[in-house]
């Protein structure tokens, strides 16, 4: 038997939830350890085996100048680089800073702002280096993670669909919450992968898995307005875990502009 391929798991700015998804695999993790050498996975062990690594799973977004350098080292050390989770694929919840002035936050939060080296924007891994596959989700699904590892091990294309949550919802036999109860739901523009967890409990989708392959956010927002949701709610809905994912970003910014224009009009008409 040849040498086992080496697996590395890296972390940038993130909550570690995606790495935990891997640790949560438990039984299957043993199988992974049997097939791969878990060479670099600080969350699991501080023992480090030198690279290069055949497969690197990268969690987190790039938020500091140091990380913007480090991610290039990670790329150089990796044959296949898979970015995992909302942070690594879209900038994560911390990309909310991208819509504001981060220096202002720093001055408010930290006693000595000079010690803080933060980039103006939180960006996904693919903004900095070539990525072989992006696995979306906040956090990524355990099954999808195993599917990617399994596909890598057996030299096949991973089955990671880009279609919407609606497909999973219908497959599960859920009743559409938007149609049957008027509950706003991001499912039609959100990528499948979670198994339609929220609609199964009569909640609208929060968009944890980020944009689907062809998300028509404009049409969905118009529908949200028809069922009684305001512009502010639309901005907030698109501005969560995947706020900086291009289609979601554009949509929240469009409605933010509308709100700003409205506020301007109101202030000029009242003065």
């Amino acid at each position: 038997m040849g040498r086992k391929p080496k697996l590395a798991v890296y972390k940038f700015a993130s909550c570690d939830g995606c790495q935990l998804s891997l640790l949560n695999c438990e039984e299957e993790l043993m199988a992974v350890a049997g097939e791969m050498e878990i060479a670099y996975f600080l969350e699991a062990s501080r023992a480090v085996v030198k690279g290069p690594y055949q497969l690197s799973l990268v969690e987190g977004s790039i938020t500091t100048p140091r990380d913007a350098e480090r991610v290039h080292q990670v790329r150089r050390a990796s044959r296949f680089l898979v970015s995992i989770g909302a942070c690594a694929t879209s900038g994560g919840i911390q990309s909310l800073r991208n819509f504001k002035d981060v220096r202002e936050f720093v001055s408010v939060v930290y006693a000595t702002a000079e010690y803080i080296e933060a980039l103006e924007k939180s960006t996904p891994i693919s903004y900095h280096v070539r990525v072989d596959l992006e696995l979306q989700g906040c956090p990524v699904g355990k099954d999808q993670l195993l599917e990617v590892i399994s596909a890598f091990l057996h030299n096949r294309r991973p089955n990671v669909p880009a279609y919407s949550v609606c497909m999973e919802c219908k497959k599960a036999g859920n009743v559409c919450v938007m149609v049957a109860s008027g509950t706003p739901c991001l499912g039609p523009v959100t990528r499948a992968g979670c198994g339609a967890v929220c609609p199964a409990y009569q909640r609208g989708c929060y968009g944890c898995f980020g944009p689907s392959g062809s998300p028509n956010t404009i049409s969905l927002s118009e529908r949200w307005q028809q069922i009684g949701k305001g512009e502010e709610e639309i901005v907030r809905a698109f501005r969560s875990f995947n706020a900086y994912a291009e289609p979601f970003r554009r949509e929240s910014e469009a409605y933010e502009r509308l709100l700003t224009e409205k506020a301007l009009r109101d202030s000029t008409s009242s003065s």
């Binding site: 299957e28 199988a31 399994s150 057996h154 219908k170 028509n216 049409s219």
Partner: protein
């Protein structure tokens, strides 16, 4: 006792009908209220039925409503179709086990339950006959579908209500079923009376019907049942007609309406999932981490995803416009060439369950009204 062809049964007799089917070994499926909608699921008792419920439907909108009577079949249609039982959205085709340097295929042994469906709407019966043609009628038969379909016992519930998005009248698929059922029920609810006119369509149906304790109908009861269905037909708000539909669509490949609908279409795939005749599937190979076993699964697919038309080099239908157009073109036009009839039965589910309420009858109407612009079939994307 000679099995009767037509009987009047009381609502309570539906319990005997269910019992009689269960006794014969059927897995009985029928309408139940679940999560704000009428869906098809296991049925064991009369009480499971959506007694006294109806629905209000429009483009992208469905609401359950109370009726002021105790009708058993007083709703129209919910989001779930019978195809989920006959053609499940996910199914393992086979398994393979590593065997030294090679591998061994393990055939999937399926023993599907013997199904009895209670409350099949006439349009849905047509949909099942379309699936029969597609999945079991041609040269290549889907053995799983055939196994599930073969022993199926069908109890039709003719429509006394026209749902808000129904257009079966114009598609000639309802609101009453003429054949293809074991038993057909027409429910009559008036201020004074509540009964179901039951008609046996097969010997098996007559036998089961004979065990329900019904009585022979009088002329008045037969007339009232017929009138109920006629009234439902008259109340239908939508239509989609025209024997020229196929040619009209084929000529309208470059119609500007496709751009218009593409602006609204979410490409979420809901319409294809709730359509009773959309049958497309894809296959997925799954492997165990250790590589000891591999499985091939069949999974429901939708022409609204980019992967659906992915071949070497990319997706054939990369734009939402191309996907929506493909769906309608196939359903209403190419289907006729392929399977001898339209793929649409007028149930209106794609209208109700489209989150943004895109209406197939309206889209076709717009294409018809604005005439044909361009007949060029080039330039897919």
């Amino acid at each position: 006792m000679k099995a009767e062809e037509r009987l009047v049964i009381r609502p309570a007799h539906i319990q005997q009908l269910i019992d009689s089917l269960i006794r014969r070994g059927y897995r009985v499926k029928g309408p139940v209220v679940r999560n704000e909608a009428v869906v098809y699921d296991d049925l064991s008792s009369l009480e499971d039925l959506p007694i006294g419920w109806t629905d209000e439907q429009g483009g992208g909108r469905y609401r359950l409503r109370r009726r002021d009577d105790e009708a058993l079949f007083g709703y129209s249609l919910g989001p779930r179709t019978w195809k989920v039982f006959l053609h499940p959205p996910e199914r393992r085709l086979w398994k393979a086990e590593r065997n030294g340097r090679g591998f061994r295929i393990i055939e999937e042994e399926e023993r599907p339950p013997l199904f009895a469906f209670i409350g099949v709407r006439p349009c849905e019966l047509h949909a099942i006959s379309i699936l029969d043609r597609v999945l079991a009628g041609g040269e290549f038969v889907d053995p799983s579908y055939r196994a599930r379909r073969e022993g199926l016992f069908v109890v039709v519930a003719n429509c006394g209500e026209a749902g808000g998005t129904c257009f079966c009248s114009s598609m000639d698929t309802g609101p009453a079923a003429a054949s293809g059922f074991d038993i057909a029920l027409t429910e009559v609810v008036t201020a004074e009376d509540h009964y179901l006119l039951a008609e046996a369509g097969t010997g098996k149906g007559a036998e089961v019907l004979g065990e329900t304790g019904g009585v022979r109908p009088g002329e008045a009861e037969i007339t009232a049942a017929r009138k109920t269905v006629e009234e439902a037909a008259a109340r239908m708000g939508r239509s989609m007609t025209g024997s020229d539909l196929k040619d009209l669509l084929y000529r309208s490949y470059e119609h500007p309406r496709w751009d218009d609908v593409a602006r609204r279409c979410l490409t979420c795939g809901n319409c294809t999932m709730v359509c009773p005749t959309c049958f497309c599937t894809t296959v997925e190979d799954r492997t165990e981490i250790t590589g000891g076993t591999a499985e091939r699964w069949q999974r429901a697919d939708s022409c609204f995803s980019a992967e659906f038309s992915y071949i070497h080099g990319g997706s054939i239908r990369s734009s939402p416009k191309a996907r929506y157009r493909h769906w309608i073109m196939h359903k209403l036009a190419a289907w006729v060439d392929q399977f001898g009839r339209s793929g649409c039965v007028g149930c209106g589910r794609c209208i109700t369950w489209c989150p943004v309420g895109i209406d197939i009858t309206e889209e076709v109407g717009a294409i018809r009204k604005n005439g044909v612009r361009g007949s060029d079939r080039e330039g897919e994307g």
